[in-house]
């Protein structure tokens, strides 16, 4: 286990912070959300943005793609959208020599950043077409597998209140998203700043852009961030305790959770914690990094029962409580002995 040197981390951290500054400058009042989106990208994960219409979800994805100079495409999901509209299809073409051949016409999924807008409005068949692209980062059609360009990120949005004509995402697809981030409303000061500083709400162009090479360096450096054994064990205990039949599960988890988080959640926690540590300019992951990410990583992976609906308990609340209930260091002390910072 070798820690990266400060000299190695410093330029990467500086680039990431500049990216974050650009995002914060372009989109006002979303500092924490921007940080998490950047961490998700560094962790090579897909992000599900959930919020009311008009809160800037699409603008955020566009801004990220613009700053990172990545190929960006957008798909507006509708109930009549077909898998071929996303993945691409084979078209019969006539060659100059007069022969005819099926030629693959790539769909909009072949890009670096894909904005899947209102993803829950598509049919389950179309939604399931996204499964391979999100997990394997490849598309298989007629027995031919075609890799997607790297890096590849899916940033999807869904409107929680538009239940009419929507198809809830299956758990298998939800599990493929690294984070589910709730895009909330803006404060009065932020709104006033938008109104006074931007005509028609036009987002300014970024003053600095992240190069492709630097992005690859950032991704490579994120892989070198050290995950201490104690932190890894805490992540494992957290995910295990999210299951109601776990001996370490808190009482409210036993009461309200039907299914806990998958091992993919543990991997997501570890990878995103590495990214967050890199954003902080540290060579190792700390407990505070994991604690910050427990809610966005677990809130769409906890399947609650009907009792939770009746009691209006949300997965986010349970995830936060889970992080507070599991002892970080694993000291295994008696209940009446406590370590206070």
């Amino acid at each position: 286990m070798t820690l990266p040197t400060p000299q190695e981390i410093a330029p990467v951290s500086e680039a990431l912070n500049r990216t974050l500054d650009q995002l914060n400058r372009m989109l006002l009042g979303r500092e924490n959300l921007h940080r998490l989106v950047l961490a998700g990208i560094l962790a090579r994960g897909h992000i599900l943005l959930e919020g009311l219409p008009g809160l800037g979800k699409t603008a955020l994805v566009k801004a990220v793609a613009d700053i990172m100079q990545l190929q960006f495409k957008r798909i507006q999901f509708t109930p009549d959208l077909m898998p071929g509209d996303i993945l691409g299809s084979h078209i019969l073409q006539t060659r100059p020599d007069g022969t005819r051949d099926l030629v693959f016409q790539p769909g909009p999924v072949f890009c670096n950043i894909l904005l899947a807008d209102e993803i829950n409005r598509a049919s389950p068949k179309t939604q399931s077409a996204m499964l391979e692209t999100m997990q394997e980062r490849s598309v298989t059609l007629l027995g031919t597998t075609r890799p997607l360009p790297q890096p590849f990120f899916v940033l999807a949005s869904q409107n929680p209140i538009e239940l009419e004509g929507t198809y809830p995402l299956p758990e298998a697809q939800l599990d493929r998203f690294l984070f589910r981030l709730n895009v909330g409303g803006l404060g009065v000061d932020t709104l006033a700043g938008i109104l006074t500083g931007r005509r028609h709400g036009t987002i300014p162009a970024p003053g600095w852009r992240l190069s492709q090479e630097m992005l690859e360096q950032c991704l490579a450096m994120a892989d070198r961030i050290v995950l201490p054994e104690a932190v890894a064990r805490w992540i494992a205990r957290l995910v295990a305790a999210s299951h109601p039949d776990s001996p370490e599960a808190p009482a409210r988890i036993r009461t309200y959770v039907r299914y806990g988080a998958s091992p993919r959640a543990a991997i997501a926690l570890a990878e995103s914690a590495r990214a967050l540590a890199l954003l902080a300019g540290r060579p190792s992951v700390g407990f505070e990094d994991v604690r910050t990410l427990v809610e966005p990583v677990l809130n769409h992976r906890l399947i609650l029962n009907y009792q939770a609906r009746l009691d209006q308990v949300t997965p986010s609340v349970l995830a936060e409580e889970l992080a507070g209930a599991i002892d970080v260091a694993g000291l295994n002390l008696p209940a009446d002995v406590e370590v206070k910072p």
Binding site: M1, L3, D289
Partner: protein, 474 residues
């Protein structure tokens, strides 16, 4: 590039802080374990003592406390040692330090390569909070239980009913008070009172109700010993008092005769010798007898002043005896008759006649001395259970009937007949008429009885009973 010594120093400092925190944690866990073990030990000691006392093995209170402390210490020490085994490992301590200081994993990675380039210091060790309130509550409950088991009197561990033990404390207290007063006022010999006090303490301590008769028997024995000793003491005092009174009467008579007529030296010497012999044979305490003899034998011949001095001494000694006897009576150690009759000599006339006979010289001196001894000595010195033949017959208060007789209870009126069974034969204002000639003897009632058909039987009085009825009304 970082040098190895820098990394070693950095890592050593983190390790030192971790060991320091681990030691604190171990001490806390040891203390907690000792407290828990102590509670278990106290409970165990309480249960052991309870079982022992229920089985009849009581011992003394200090022994019980000692057993409690030994058991608690015996359990607490291993518990403390075992509790230290729960001390977290070194890597968990590092993780706790990292989490407490929000070090971002740098404390946990302090031993990794390149860690020296990322200096992090544990500025302040995290605190260890132990909330022993529940454990202390448990200890208080355990101690309360144990103290109850230790301090409760033995009778609470018996299966006898409370009624059987009721009054035991008052009996013991009453006896103890009497013994203590007798000891304080030196009415009884000190070894005896000390022994009785010890016996009473033992009865109060071990007097259980498993066998109330045994306890009450012990109390009766002590009371009997006390009464017996007091009676002996009272008898000795009464005897001494009677002797003193007799001697005082003799002395006063001598003094009166000395004042009325002149005596020869021989007579006075003879009287002095008789007095000396009387005092030496009198049943009085040796110290008092020595003092009295010293007053008499100090001079060869008796004088009025010597006799007056002797009379004063005798009177004072008599009053002392009376006081002790009255005190014994007040304490109910002896009954009143033991002291009665000790206020004055009832044989003054006999003493005077014997003295006149002695002075007239009509008889041998030995006979006169013997007569004096008989009159003033033994016969009049009756004790509590023995007395002179001509002693007046006195009656004491009736003895307690407690435990000796049933309580008197009036029985309710028996209803032998109900109205439905009784039949009024008539009301007589005078005695029935009885014929002068006896009625002829006829057959008994069975022969004349007829079926009653549900009515009351009408049995006539048989002739052989008429005489009895007649005598009744006569």
């Amino acid at each position: 590039m970082h040098t190895a010594p820098q990394e070693t120093s950095h890592h050593a400092e983190i390790d030192r802080q971790a060991r320091l925190f681990r030691n604190r944690l171990r001490e806390t866990l040891a203390g907690r374990g000792a407290l828990k073990g102590g509670i278990a030990g106290v409970w165990a000691a309480g249960l052991i003592l309870l079982a022992a006392r229920l089985s009849g093995c009581h011992g003394q209170a200090p022994q019980r406390w000692l057993l409690l402390m030994l058991t608690a210490a015996t359990v607490a020490l291993p518990a403390a040692i075992l509790a230290t085994r729960r001390t977290p490992p070194h890597r968990a301590i590092l993780a706790a330090l990292d989490a407490a200081g929000s070090a971002g994993g740098l404390v946990m990675c302090s031993g990794a390569d390149g860690a020296a380039a990322w200096p992090v210091a544990v500025s302040r060790l995290p605190g260890i909070a132990w909330r022993p309130s529940r454990a202390l509550g448990g200890l208080a409950v355990a101690l309360l239980f144990c103290a109850s088991v230790i301090l409760l009197p033995t009778r609470f561990f018996s299966s006898a009913s409370p009624e059987a033990t009721r009054g035991l404390e008052s009996l013991v207290g009453e006896l103890a008070e009497r013994v203590a007063q007798a000891e304080a006022e030196a009415l009884l010999p000190e070894p005896l009172t000390a022994a009785l006090s010890n016996h009473l303490e033992q009865v109060a301590e071990s007097g259980d109700a498993t066998d109330p008769a045994r306890t009450l028997e012990a109390l009766d024995h002590i009371a009997e010993e006390l009464t017996k000793s007091a009676a002996e003491q009272a008898e000795a005092l009464a005897t001494e008092h009677a002797a003193l009174q007799a001697t005082l009467s003799l002395t006063e008579q001598l003094a009166a005769s000395f004042e009325t007529e002149a005596q020869t030296d021989a007579q006075m010497a003879e009287a002095a010798a008789a007095l000396e012999q009387l005092l030496s044979q009198a049943p009085i305490s040796p110290s008092l007898a020595g003092n009295l003899l010293a007053a008499v034998t100090g001079t060869n011949t008796l004088s009025a002043a010597t006799l007056q001095q002797l009379a004063d001494m005798l009177r004072e000694a008599g009053l002392n005896c009376e006081g002790q006897l009255m005190r014994l009576e007040d304490l109910k150690l002896v009954e009143a008759p033991a002291c009665r009759g000790s206020g004055s000599c009832t044989n003054a006339q006999a003493c005077a006649a014997a003295l006149a006979q002695l002075l007239e010289g009509s008889g041998p001196d030995a006979e006169a001395a013997a007569a004096l001894a008989v009159i003033c000595g033994k016969p009049g010195a009756g004790g509590v259970s023995r007395g002179r033949g001509d002693a007046p017959l006195t009656w004491t208060d009736p003895s307690s009937r407690e435990g000796a007789a049933f309580k008197d209870d009036s029985l309710g009126t028996a209803h032998l007949f109900t109205d439905g069974q009784a039949q009024l034969q008539g009301v007589s204002a005078s005695a029935p008429e009885v014929p002068d000639t006896p009625a002829p003897v006829t057959a008994g009632a069975l022969e004349t009885a007829t079926p009653s058909k549900g009515g009351a039987p009408q049995a006539p009085i048989l002739p052989r009973h008429r005489e009895t009825v007649t005598r009744f009304f006569e």
